[in-house]
Symmetry: C2
Subunit: 146 residues, 2 copies
């Protein structure tokens, strides 16, 4: 089911602004910022406001259609949930971002449920640290970011 159908089904209105935000999210190669989404939106709808972008992102998060990740840039990035769940390893030395399979956190999740009865919401987590390349002294420019 598409984002549009889910929005409509839950009683939310399908406005032009929302459709353009969803389109920008789908067209994004990797993780996109609110500002970047706004640029796309603004190009085709010059009167649109960035607060609408933030409100739409908030709605899509609640509906679990997009996930939000803080890579430590001072701004947050968004990703369409259906494109696949994963986490990230962010190196604070070189900025390199590696993807981590969702299953890597399943043991922790199960542990928290068994021990504390706590259902952890671990979606699109960014774990910061120091990557193998930087640790071994071969600091290189990372190829993949965000």
């Amino acid at each position: 089911m598409s984002c549009h159908e889910i929005l409509q089904e839950k009683g939310h209105r399908l406005t032009l602004q929302r459709m353009l935000v969803i389109e920008a999210l789908h067209n994004a190669v990797r993780h996109i910022s609110a500002e970047e989404i706004y640029e796309e939106l603004h190009r085709r709808h010059p009167y649109a406001n960035i607060s609408t972008v933030y409100r739409t992102l908030e709605l899509l998060k609640e509906l679990e259609l997009v996930t939000e990740t803080d890579f430590g840039e001072g701004r947050v990035r968004y990703h369409v949930a259906e494109k696949g769940h994963h986490h990230h390893l962010v190196c604070h030395s070189c900025g390199r971002v590696a993807d981590l399979e969702e299953t890597a956190l399943h043991p922790l999740k199960e542990g928290l449920l068994d021990e504390y009865g706590f259902v952890a919401d671990l979606r699109h987590l960014a774990i910061s640290g120091r990557c193998n390349e930087c640790r071994s002294g071969h600091e290189t420019e990372p190829k993949l970011r965000y």
Copy 2:
């Protein structure tokens, strides 16, 4: 070794502002916000500015003397590192915050090191989710917060 000694040893100046920020952090019962630290500082040094608080906190973080945790309030809270390391389980239904021993994340940390050679920096993490009380329908007012 005290915060004061560590600052001085690393060549940082011991200003009144810094001493008052450190004092506020040590006096805090649990996790304190920058605004709360600023109130303490302002009471005894009316010309002090909140940017100094943020800059001091940034410095203390770099020296690993304080940790920063985002409980999802829209502001971040700080805690003296030497008071003990732990993580937090934050319920997004009732706001209850439970402490989680540092060791609970050791298996994950070791796994990331073995599999990816990645040294994860997992300090004072806030894991959001739904707590046992809320899941069982007995939603109560939480006693402990932050």
